[in-house]
Symmetry: C2
Subunit: 590 residues, 2 copies
């Protein structure tokens, strides 16, 4: 019972060894992270199409809940770029931005993805996330980065624009380009230039000025805070809001409110699929971040428990005025670099943000949305990685195809189509590859008991004995392939009297493949050919023995391929074994 | 060019060796098959909800086109039970039975599935059919058989009933049971009893009477023809149609008409998915039948060319008043047993059916639909195979689950939901299985260079060296699993300084798994652990060498596991090799 509690409440583990030193490290980290998180939270709420305070609320309860249920000690949970974009796409389909219905639907979305995550954790379905192949994830993140940057350009230009795909966004931007507000553009462009410089040029400069690397890091990460401060002051000093610069305006001063997600059946039906996609994408992002930090400290992250932690965080967001959240890389890096040691640092950050929500929101009244857009654009362009395409091309053409398709479909048809098509394509290509496994006709290497591909080696073969090695487990995608291949070989070569299938690379045989083997056996029998297996692995053999296949087999199951060859053509096999100069055929080699 | 023509027109192959003997065999077969096919064609048209002549038309042009483009010499193409049921389900969603729109939609469905088949053949996408695992096909056919039988019960009872799922059909039947027509029920029940007896009892009787087995076979197969003759005569003699027995009535006397499928965009959109499912199911049924017969004569069936043949057949059906067709088992058996030698037999059958369509349709005027329903019910109950569930259970629980789910979902939600869910579940379970492959911690068997699972054997291990064997190719479904597993092992056991991954069972490493290996290497480096591989297969190594992985690897890639162990702990490995009595640990064995 107690052990079970431990499994579901990791807080019981780390809280027992909590010391005064850990406490002061955690508190210091929390102060730094709080300051960094305020502009980030406002910006991502804007990206999601929600009022700015939603971003802060979404960072409070979720952090606390993750601290109780999560296993990563450095992960910071809250709004992140890709999930915010997906939220905007999903909620935008059911409600108009800026309406009450929009915010309520975002709560429902958070609740649904929380429930999906929780269910996946309780039923140990974390493996579902592995259906996202790495090339698809990289492609999706690159495309999402571009979509996010495009969606924020309107704030930098001070114009209206809409759409959830790149063509829609660019078309809409181009149409309204005439309305550009010069003051907004100046602020946005300067903020972007500054932030790019902070990213690329500031740290080397600080280091060359003799700053300690750690301090240089923190100063560099404070770039967005500096941009926020300076542009806010500029707007206030010159009353640029009266010149048409859009500002954040008044944000309610309040602790996260208790909110009730809209549970109408229609809404749930429309948001279920997007919520599932958000949970899976969020989980993949979060677990990657968590594992990166865990390995640095040789700690362990439990994927199923992570699902529960993220599920609790999202459910918390749903009831406290937030929207879908996950563990984010940017905020976790800040947390880790600032010296956070336990999830308690997250709890302290939550307290800091709660204080900010109550006391500091008047300070962002004059903050221009162009600055927030600039921080988002600079952050997400770091996610765009087209060189991944070039790296993957020489290694695997099918992975390249999956990645390119994911990028193009995400840009052209939006995040949901992109990710679903990417997953579908990965799975299809994977099944396609396993559906036609590498098969080699083999023969005996003279002077040895080894058998090798006749296309690559000079080997001894018998026209009566067809020896085939299949380099893949046998399951339904390739069951028919194997049948087709063997039938074709036997139909083409009428001298064949025995077929021997070498199974040294067969790790499993499923029911479809078993049926195929039974049919091969039966059909070869009709053609007067005997069917044998060799080198069947232990666990595979254990299963076969539970069926009638072994007794129905017209031939034998041999321990080694040499045993098979020797039993079927003793003269040839033994001569070939003794004499390395036995006449061998060299098909593939001239 | 000529060779290319040969590939796409198999008729050029067999027509060159056509003799007078072959001709007479083919013609005799055609006469027998024509007689058998008339009631079958009428019955399946009724099952599809179409007028009876549609079944005959669907057997003429398709047979001719398949004779030109198909590769199987015995396959008989035309309406079959499962495809007729799927047609009824698909067309029933867009039009009312008995209307012009219904027949037109059936033509569109045939055209679309013909185009899908043709496209799959030209683009060599036949592997798509292998996504249907064997347990799913068996489950689907069992459930379809039950659905078909249930759908025909209304004709045997002489009542109205509707629905595309078992609960709907049974509910509808139960509600109208009071309207049962006694005369119809008597005819239907007697026909069913007769046909069951023909199936089970007649052949042994004929054999015991001294008939030759071949003749006994043909007489047995003529059972439905006898039932049709007797019941038609009975209805005519006693004017049972006036007592409420429903009859086929007047069928137009005509050659297949030239028809134009309805090509409206809405209709195509609604029928596209059902058409794709029908093509795939039809292809799977047809190719299985074709292969069964081909292997008997050691002939070869080319799956991609079969797709083209079936595609042409369906397109032909669309333009000649038919509906979706495929190669059927029942009609092919008749063809084969009757002695058909080449596709010309099919062409002669087509001529026979054309004559029947023009001249013989008045003869079926008094044929009661109850008899046709009885022939269908008796035929399809032969497809129902619940024992398959019992056979599969001991071999594979996950295949059992896929089969059971397919049966229940097909019965409960109809053919389309059933087959899609079955395919989805097979793929998910397959990915699930490969997502957590068998992994073994291995050690050296004393006195040998062999390494075995520490849980099953007494082996020599070093606490500093963690040796792991993974029994599966590495690709995206299991990439994260491998990471999780290695990180967990290393986090749990802090003495580990080296991890050696034995890759003897790894047939492929995709881009996701390569990324995972790179991350493992990187993260182990952060933890101060060196990462090695051993026994990497040639083709896998070739690919790895195209990346930077090999140079970035903190450890080595060893040819054998022993080489790795010897390099990392020379003392222990060599002592263990020499002395079979080296102290070994026996974890799993007490």
């Amino acid at each position: 019972m107690f052990e079970r509690l431990h499994r579901y409440l990791p807080i019981l583990d780390w809280s027992r060894t909590y010391t005064r030193d850990t406490l002061s490290n955690d508190m210091l980290a929390a102060v730094i992270v709080t300051i960094m998180l305020i502009p980030q939270s406002l910006a991502y709420a804007m990206l999601a199409g929600l009022p700015p305070e939603a971003g802060i609320y979404a960072s409070i309860a979720p952090i606390l809940l993750y601290a109780i249920f999560g296993t990563s000690r450095a992960l910071a949970v809250g709004p992140v770029a890709v999930v915010s974009l997906m939220t905007a796409a999903a909620v935008g389909q059911v409600a108009e931005q800026g309406t009450m219905g929009y915010a309520a639907a975002a709560l429902t979305l958070a609740l649904l993805s929380g429930l999906f995550l929780l269910a996946m954790g309780l039923f140990r379905l974390g493996f579902l996330a592995s259906f996202l192949s790495h090339p698809v994830i990289v492609g999706f993140i690159t495309a999402s980065g571009l979509l996010i940057a495009a969606s924020q350009l309107r704030h930098v230009l001070g114009i209206e624009a809409h759409g959830h795909t790149l063509p829609q966004m660019l078309g809409s931007l181009a149409g309204n380009l005439g309305d550009t507000n010069i003051a907004t553009l100046v602020i946005g462009a300067l903020a972007m230039a500054f932030l790019f410089w902070v990213r690329k040029g500031l740290k080397p400069l600080l280091l060359s000025l003799g700053l300690r690397p750690k301090l240089a890091d923190v100063v560099t990460k404070a770039g967005p805070v500096a941009a926020v401060l300076v542009t806010t002051l500029a707007v206030w000093a010159f009353r640029l809001d009266e010149a048409g610069v859009r500002i954040v305006g008044s944000v309610p001063q309040s602790l996260p409110p208790l909110t009730m997600p809209d549970l109408s059946f229609d809404l749930i039906e429309m948001l279920a699929v997007p919520a599932l996609l958000i949970s899976i994408i969020g989980f993949v992002e979060s677990i990657s971040v968590a594992q990166t930090f865990a390995s640095k400290k040789r700690q362990r992250v439990d994927p199923d428990q992570e699902l529960i932690g993220l599920g609790a965080a999202n459910i918390g967001a749903a009831f406290t005025g937030g929207y879908p959240v996950t563990g984010g890389f940017a905020r976790s890096v800040v947390n880790f670099d600032a010296g956070a040691e336990t999830p308690a640092a997250g709890a302290f950050t939550a307290i800091g943000l709660a204080i900010a929500a109550v006391a500091l929101t008047p300070l962002v009244y004059f903050l221009p949305t162009a600055t927030l857009a600039a921080t988002i654009i600079v952050a997400v362009l770091g996610l765009v990685d087209f060189r991944a395409l070039a790296r993957i091309w020489p290694y695997s053409k099918s992975d390249f195809a999956a990645q390119l398709a994911t990028i193009l479909l995400t840009l052209g048809f939006g995040v949901e189509v992109g990710i679903v098509a990417g997953v579908g394509l990965s799975i299809t290509l994977h099944l396609y590859r396993t559906s036609r496994p590498h098969c080699a006709v083999i023969g005996q290497v003279p002077g040895t008991e080894h058998f090798r591909n006749t296309d690559r080696h000079c080997v001894v073969t018998s026209p009566r004995i067809h020896m085939l090695r299949v380099d893949e487990s046998l399951y339904f995608p390739n069951a028919r392939f194997l049948q087709d291949r063997i039938y074709a070989d036997v139909a083409r070569n009428r001298a064949i009297r025995h077929v021997v299938l070498q199974c040294s690379a067969v790790n499993a045989i499923d029911a479809s493949a078993l049926e195929a083997l039974e049919e091969i056996n039966h059909h070869l029998k009709d053609s007067g050919v005997t069917f044998h297996l060799s080198e069947v692995k232990g666990p595979v053999m254990d299963r076969l023995q539970r069926t009638t296949f072994v007794e129905d087999l017209t031939g034998q199951i041999y321990l080694t391929q040499y045993d098979a060859f020797e039993a079927l053509d003793p003269g040839l096999a033994r001569v070939a074994l003794k004499d390395p100069r036995t006449a061998a055929t060299c098909h593939g080699l001239q």
